[in-house]
């Protein structure tokens, strides 16, 4: 969808045929406890919340609190992810388990990592997993590199959203290549969400001003000094950036100033003081 078409559409985020009012998606990792998780996510206004799938802690779990009690699936759209998977096979197995865990829920976040240092996506494995998952009826939101060709291929496979990184997961470095994001936004029809690398509110606003359909973040909120306040800041930033995008920014005029006040009616008309003393 090109930029004007995106503006013309009703302003909800539509993913896999379902409309969401919030364009901010949040992760649930790295918080102090589930209470802080729940308060930050409430402040963020997010409706889609991503969770990881892990082995239960056999033998030590009596009375252990459960994340899905803090974030009930009746209130939030739970987006299971494949964080930590390095092969297509592991990612597919993880999401089959997630679908069983969440009573047949089909919307998932696919991420297949390439190496533990950069957590950069392994795109050949991501594409392979996306193919299998789409064939099995999953609605795949795919974490990907900011390569427009990869994003397009994910769309062609049937992914319901593409989620290019702004910068490395958990780095807080913001948007390193706005030009690539712009190409992806212009070329891909499904929603484009920036996932990974957001550090602070201005990063989220910039992503939305570029025309992204949404932003997914975790660390920027969870590792802020005050996560609940940062969650609110991110909510406002995403809304502000979206509104700025919809409003259409003024043209940049690098070599030409333009006064905002009227040029006439000054008490000392331009140049008169200098003429008198000359």
């Amino acid at each position: 969808m090109n930029a004007p078409d995106r503006i013309a559409a009703a302003d909800v985020l539509e993913v896999a045929g379902k409309a969401y009012r919030s364009r901010l998606l949040v992760g649930t990792g790295k918080y102090r406890d589930f209470e802080e998780t729940a308060r930050a996510i409430e402040a963020s206004g997010a409706e889609i919340v991503t969770v990881a799938i892990r082995r239960t802690n056999i033998g030590q779990n009596a009375g252990e609190p459960n994340l899905l009690d803090a974030l009930p699936p009746s209130r939030y759209t739970i987006l299971p992810n494949t964080a930590g998977c390095y092969t297509a096979e592991d990612a597919v197995r993880t999401l089959r388990l997630a679908r069983e865990l969440l009573d047949g829920h089909a919307l998932v976040k696919l991420e297949v990592l390439g190496d533990a240092q950069s957590l950069y996506p392994n795109m050949p494995e991501t594409l392979a997993a996306a193919k299998t998952l789409a064939a099995e009826g999953f609605q795949v939101m795919a974490y990907c590199s900011d390569d427009p060709i990869m994003a397009k291929q994910l769309e062609d496979i049937g992914c319901v959203a593409v989620m290019p990184l702004a910068s490395l997961i958990g780095s807080g470095m913001g948007i390193l290549n706005p030009w690539n994001l712009q190409i992806i936004i212009d070329r891909v029809q499904v929603p484009v969400l920036v996932d990974a690398g957001i550090g602070t509110a201005s990063d989220a606003a910039v992503a939305m001003e570029l025309g992204c359909d949404g932003v997914l973040m975790n660390t920027a909120i969870a590792k802020a000094q005050d996560p609940v306040r940062m969650a609110r800041a991110m909510k406002l930033a995403v809304e502000a950036g979206r509104e700025a995008f919809r409003a259409g920014r003024m043209a940049k005029k690098p070599y030409e100033a333009s006064a905002s006040s009227p040029e006439g009616g000054l008490i000392a008309p331009s140049g008169s003081a200098r003429k008198k003393t000359a």
Partner: protein, 68 residues
């Protein structure tokens, strides 16, 4: 007859081929939201009452945790 399985990566022995429902009880996980895989295949919750562990099974029991 005792069976040996690998449960979440750890070797475990059970005195008999118990059902998945009995396994979940045994692990004090009853009532929790979880999913089970046996040898790479999902064991649907609807089959926990009848499906039984077999000797040599590789079993994964997973839950949702915080993550991004």
């Amino acid at each position: 007859m005792a069976i040996h399985v690998t449960l979440n990566g750890t070797a475990r022995e059970f005195p008999s081929a118990l059902t998945f429902a009995q396994l979940i009880d045994e692990l004090a996980l009853a009532g929790r939201r979880l999913a089970v895989e046996r040898n790479g295949e999902i064991v649907p919750r609807s089959r926990f009452g009848e499906a039984r562990l077999s000797d040599g099974d590789r079993i994964e029991v997973v839950m949702a945790v915080g993550g991004g």
